[in-house]
Symmetry: C2
DNA sequence: GTCTATACAGCGATAGAC
DNA sequence: GTCTATCGCTGTATAGAC
């Protein structure tokens, strides 16, 4: 059981952070939903911040790995980008990483802020790489990659605001339509 | 002074909400920053929620009016859209309305949620109207309008995450580049 | 309409036994 | 490493005088 309590706490924190944000999630909620006791929580994570760092790092790592894996997978570059953009997402729930940019606790903590920055920096870089495979020059690739990532993040915001999965799909459709019109 | 305290409270709340979100802003902070006394706050706004409704409604109203005014102003449709997208923004601060989609208090309150939904619904509708002026058919106009609004909202998320105004500019540049390539 | 004083709950964290 | 008990503080709101 040595490492089980710690693991249960991290996984539970990840879930609650995705639902309500980091600042709004209390240590008490985490221990109640994970089934571990109060002593255990404060043994493994002396402060709320320590738990936040562990859970947010994990989420960033998982989310980035999954995105990069799809973007650098097999198939033609344009098909890979389209598949990433059209990926099934619970858009109404919002992006687990993107939502952190509005979290007071995350933004006030240098380490947590850096985690979020690194995620988007790497993601844009990866998308730009796919666009360069298509022959786009570096500057144009970086701009268009930023646009692509922004469309997804904005799609999350709109779907969440309107309580409907459709805005995300419409935003991606509109973007892919413009990409195809070029070819 | 009858209405001055109320007004000061609303304006102060708007500012603090933009800085740290609604849930994270305490009634105490609002009264301290506005200079009114505790009794006054609870006289004008019996609960934190009442103040939130007043301040958020005001922000949504102001922001929408400003956007619509520019989008439906003078000049060619494509120039108006470009001007709206390239508008000077403090992107690192985030969108005063968009950030509310990650605010636990706003999302848990039906009236506040509806305010935010109405804002984006109206904004997308307005942009779609501009695109239809350019001859785009209804479905394509709605999709592309959703993309345009998503690019701005995503630009905010990226600029905030990276602590840099540049990602917003890059996202808009990438989008306008695709629009021009079509013409 | 505004003031001062106060109530009460929940949050984040600690103490000390086992 | 986990438990129960408890602490100090702040958030939200109320009471009652002026």
């Amino acid at each position: 059981m040595t490492t089980h309590a710690r693991e249960a706490l991290v996984v539970t924190a990840q879930r609650l952070y995705a639902e309500k944000g980091v600042a709004a999630t209390t240590p008490r909620e985490v221990l109640e939903h994970s089934g571990v006791g109060q002593g255990s929580l404060y043994h493994h994570f002396p402060s709320k911040r320590d738990l936040a760092v562990a859970a947010v790092s994990r989420t960033v790592e998982e989310t980035l790995r999954s995105a990069v894996s799809q973007l650098e997978g097999t198939g033609a570059p344009d098909a890979r980008l389209a598949a990433y953009l059209e990926r099934p997402r619970d858009a109404v729930a919002g992006c687990r990483v993107g939502r952190l940019t509005a979290d007071p606790l995350v933004m006030a903590d240098a380490d947590l802020h850096t985690e979020v920055a690194a995620y988007f920096s790497n993601l844009i870089q990866t998308v730009a790489g796919v666009l360069r495979e298509q022959g786009l020059e570096a500057d144009a690739a970086r701009d268009r990659a930023t646009t692509a990532v922004a469309v997804v993040q904005g799609g999350y915001v709109l779907s969440r605001a309107l309580g409907d999965q459709e805005p995300m799909r419409a935003a991606v459709r509109g973007f892919l339509g413009l990409l195809e019109a070029r070819a």
